[in-house]
Symmetry: C2
Subunit: 206 residues, 2 copies
């Protein structure tokens, strides 16, 4: 069955809540209490989960830890996804310094650039590789996700290289629409889009 992308995004949010709740020692919760935390409808939570199975108990609710683990399984988090960062500029470096990857279950196994000044140098303990070695290293290291922090001009070219290397998921920070083959998922993080949307709503509301 085709799962709505919004459902998948909400699963990440559910996971975050369940993670915090489990840390706080909660062991049971209802779709209503989870929904309340995220300002959603209880039915939405139940419908989202129902795409993947039956995880609750009637009259009782969900076991926090169990549901958290089920969602981790659905999202493929228990596999310990391997990530590559391409483009070691300001943003790439900032991401490298981000300690949260491990906690999230992601592992940065390789970093790439095309600048001779950077190739071979160490950044946060990792040696920057030549982007031309990308396809080989993807295969060797079994990389799952590529994070693109390259200049806008080269984003499309790099996206093609990445797709051709067999990567199925790209997180793109460049403000550009990437054309990729069917079967490759692209998420875009675009500060400009967020700010402009907010600008609209700032003018609108009230």
């Amino acid at each position: 069955m085709k799962i709505p992308e919004k459902t998948v995004r909400r699963l990440s949010l559910y996971y975050r809540c369940l993670y915090f709740l489990s840390q706080q020692g909660a062991y049971n919760l209802s779709s209503k209490s989870l929904a309340d935390l995220l300002e959603l409808e209880p039915a939405q939570v139940r419908k989202d989960l129902s795409y993947f199975g039956q995880f609750g108990k009637k009259g009782k609710g969900y076991d926090v830890l169990e549901l958290k683990n089920e969602i981790a399984k659905i999202l493929g988090l228990e596999k310990g996804r391997k990530v590559a960062i391409i483009g070691i500029g300001n943003l790439g470096n900032a991401l490298l310094s981000f300690k949260g990857f491990e906690v999230l279950g992601f592992q940065v196994v390789a970093i790439f650039d095309n600048s001779p000044n950077k190739i071979g140098k160490k950044y946060h303990g990792k040696i920057c590789q030549d982007i031309s070695a990308f396809p080989a290293i993807v295969r060797r290291e079994k990389i799952d996700i590529a994070i693109l922090t390259v200049p806008t001009e080269s984003a499309q070219e790099v996206a093609r290289l990445v797709s051709n290397s067999g990567i199925k998921a790209i997180l793109n920070f460049a403000p550009a629409h990437l054309n990729v083959p069917k079967g490759v998922a692209v998420s875009n993080i675009d500060l400009a889009v967020e700010l402009k949307s907010l600008s609209y709503f700032a003018g609108q509301k009230q």
Copy 2:
């Protein structure tokens, strides 16, 4: 009329395309060519624009510069939105070093933190202010948008302070759901959500 949020987000994408096209000297385009650039349907483009007026010419298409300016007007970009950054850690600093704000038509007019070590110090030419001065400075500087780069634990508290100061738009980088009064727009940029969604699709596709 209530405009779909997805429409507003697409307007930002249209704007970006139009900006590039105008730089390349293009002066006219059809809904089809704009749609092709973003892998959308032409009817989608026309419908999105139709919420705000009639900007095209039958048999001809749209004037690139004119449409770009119309969208800027719709999004409130010609007003030169004023932005504050709250939380001058790694991420806040990285954003401060981002040169793109001005190009986007946004202006960082104030930066805030609550740490005595940071208050009064200069970061990228701007003096870090005490967060407790936020409400007064918002009013004085007429700030439109607050960017939150604070730790997850304090995000909700800061969001409340920000909302109470009359801010109508928040860009939140903390991995937390913010409860804000109706009328305040929140956009979330959450690396974890993006990575987890991609993890799902990386497992799925092919």
